[in-house]
């Protein structure tokens, strides 16, 4: 029965993707992309991946919509029709679709327990987690401990993207740039004059941040972890910035705090790795962090997930403020 629900969601996904490509108004496209992410999150939940569903909902449907809208406010609102060789593109796309569909006939049946992907490493992880790490969430165990080096590299990628955006958008534009100048007044900032969103939003911001912290620290016991928590806390603070205006939001969390968050999380992660080396083990070996190796693993995973959450929060907030502050210079 649930397979039919999955089929229905997949069909909706295809229809939404077609609508995204066909729309000319870019606001509509961004909203449809948010709907697409939410449908994807529901699909992931049906496919037994609650961690991924949480991340996709928080990051794809929440943060990416805000970032796209911020970029749209700075660029253009409609797509202008131009002439390309559409028939050639359609032809290439159709042929490649048929080739990929032909290739899928060789794939193992959906849900087959004897498929090659379920054989070699995955059962080992599922057996090893209760013995070596003893936390319920296997995904966090693999992310934090068995494949901790991958996650370190990934934190560094997020960090690099953050610095990249700050380099691109952190400085004033040149005087002769071809942009329209709009004066913004302090009292007009944010949604000050709109009472209902402001009151309800200010009621909700502490709960959103609290929920983000809950997700952060329950990553070992249920779906959750650093990435989701970082996205949710950043979403709460972006809501505050949207309601109160950007000046006020920068007074609450100044730029040096954001930069500190961005760098501090990655530093914390690296420091845990080096602490493992200094205490006698390998890089990112958590077993030496406490007298009991299992406790050491749990402490290590807790610390690095905190580092990940801090960096993701800092980067998403810095990127948002970089886009929002650009509007003042334009």
């Amino acid at each position: 029965m649930i397979v039919l629900f999955g089929v229905f969601l997949l069909t909706l996904l295809v229809i939404t993707a077609l609508a995204i490509v066909r729309s000319e108004n870019l606001f509509v496209v961004v909203m449809l992309a948010g709907i697409f992410s939410l449908l994807m999150a529901a699909m992931f939940l049906i496919l037994d991946a609650p961690d991924v569903a949480l991340t996709e909902a928080a990051v794809g449907a929440g943060i990416s919509t805000v970032l796209f809208l911020a970029a749209l406010a700075l660029t253009a609102e409609r797509e202008r029709a131009g002439s390309t060789n559409r028939l050639l593109a359609l032809g290439v796309v159709a042929v490649t679709t048929l080739i990929v569909i032909y290739a899928t006939f060789d794939k193992p049946r959906f849900g087959d327990p004897a498929a090659p992907v379920h054989q070699h490493v995955a059962p080992w992880y599922l057996e090893r987690t209760p013995e070596a790490i003893d936390i319920p969430n296997v995904v966090t165990a693999i992310l934090g401990s068995f494949r901790g080096y991958d996650t370190l590299g990934e934190v560094f990628v997020v960090f690099t993207a953050g610095i990249g955006v700050l380099f691109l958008l952190g400085t004033r534009p040149r005087r002769n740039s071809r942009s329209v100048r709009v004066a913004l007044d302090e009292s007009d900032a944010g949604l000050r004059h709109y009472l209902i969103p402001r009151v309800v939003g200010r009621l909700l911001v502490p709960f959103i941040v609290l929920f983000g912290l809950y997700i952060q620290f329950h990553g070992e016991y249920g779906p959750g972890g650093g990435f989701q928590a970082g996205a949710i806390v950043a979403a709460g603070l972006i809501l505050y910035a949207l309601l109160e205006g950007e000046e006020q939001a920068l007074r609450v969390m100044p730029r040096w705090v954001l930069t500190g968050l961005v760098a501090g999380g990655a530093l914390l992660y690296g420091a845990v790795g080096i602490a493992g080396m200094l205490l006698g083990g390998n890089f990112l070996d958590y077993s030496v962090l406490a007298t009991d190796p299992i406790k050491g693993q749990q402490i290590g995973i807790l610390l690095i997930e905190t580092g990940v959450g801090i960096t993701v929060t800092g980067v998403l907030l810095s990127v948002f403020h970089a886009f929002a502050a650009r509007g003042r210079y334009l």
């Binding site: 108004n25 709109y194 209902i196 969103p197 309800v200 939003g201 009621l203 909700l204 709960f207």
Partner: protein, 109 residues
């Protein structure tokens, strides 16, 4: 008792689904933006309340029921606010209520 709970939750879920469907049809067929917002808000309030009530009956007395009740509370708090913000934004953009804009016709500016 279990059968009774099952029948009641089945009824609530079906009613909630019917409200969601009505809200969807209304969002498509209504003539104006403001009437469409009004129709779509049906989904978030009646539809969500009935569906979550049906699921709470299925979950019984456990932590999951409390979490579901909290989700319902937050939904009831945020979705009318979002409707209000959408209508304010439309007023700010200059759309007057009563100007019927047929579905699928973009505003030419």
């Amino acid at each position: 008792m279990a059968v009774f709970l099952d029948v009641v939750s089945w009824l609530l879920l079906s009613l909630g689904g019917a409200f969601v469907f009505i809200g969807g049809v209304g969002a498509l067929r209504m003539p104006d933006l403001y009437t469409r917002i009004h129709a779509a808000s049906l989904t978030d309030t009646m539809g969500a309340s009935l569906i979550i009530a049906g699921i709470i009956l299925q979950a019984g007395a456990s932590l999951a029921s409390i979490k579901l009740a909290m989700i319902l509370l937050f939904l009831l708090l945020t979705s009318p606010t979002a409707t209000n913000a959408l209508a304010s934004a439309a007023l700010l953009a200059g759309m007057r209520p009563g100007e019927a804009i047929p579905w699928r016709q973009d505003r030419s500016e």
